[in-house]
Subunit: 105 residues, 2 copies
DNA sequence: ATAACATTTCGATAAAAGTCGAAATAATAT
DNA sequence: ATATTATTTCGACTTTTATCGAAATGTTAT
């Protein structure tokens, strides 16, 4: 993943719907979660959801697996992890910080 | 930082220029770096740079400190760290991964 | 006071992203 | 074959971002 790709991936996380999708996909594990289920949970039109999913796929943050007529969305954990490492290694020098682990509500 | 703010912050990192700024600010430490220096290094028009800086400030990723007629840009490390923690805690369950530490070029 | 410097605001324009109904595709079941 | 279900594509539209020259603002030096 090079700089432009990292940046593109962050942009993907920069939309509440897509960030919700990603967050939901974590819980779904490797089995993933059907598009339809996502749609019910997020309660948005299918075309809108499809658009965001496609965007996430192109950015390398998720992949899809088809079973019958159901499409499962699966997070690409390794790439999310890369983003985390980018922030951790390039952005956060620990001496600079005293971080409270529970700041994330 | 709540969900919407996290998402907003990721969006900020989702532009190559702004991600470059953030990356540069890390090296600058708490002293920060003058807007003018950033401009020379990035080689973009001042109005464009100013626009992106303003955006980063509003998203809580950096702050500014004035010294004479020079404005220093300083990263808000703690918020970048929060993003990293968000990805680490909410998105990356370590059992799911074997991560190569050197994947970031 | 005026000039030189650092940076922002304005304003106009161009480009990209987001939204969603309706039609199209694909898979399975009857 | 036809109907049903799951999901995507199309197309039109609205909203948001990005870009950048030029003018304005604020700061220090002369």
């Amino acid at each position: 993943m090079k700089f432009e790709e990292i940046s593109r991936a962050f942009k993907e996380l920069g939309h509440p719907i897509r960030l919700s999708i990603v967050k939901r996909l974590i819980r779904a594990g490797f089995q993933g979660i059907p598009v339809g289920t996502l749609q019910e949970e997020l309660n948005i039109p299918n075309s809108t959801l499809s658009h965001h999913i496609s965007s996430l796929v192109h950015a390398g943050l998720m992949m899809q697996r088809k079973e019958g007529r159901t499409l499962f969305c699966v997070l690409k954990y390794e790439n999310v992890k890369l983003l985390q490492l980018f922030l951790e290694k390039d952005c956060c020098v620990d001496e600079y910080l005293e971080v409270k682990e529970n700041l994330l509500e």
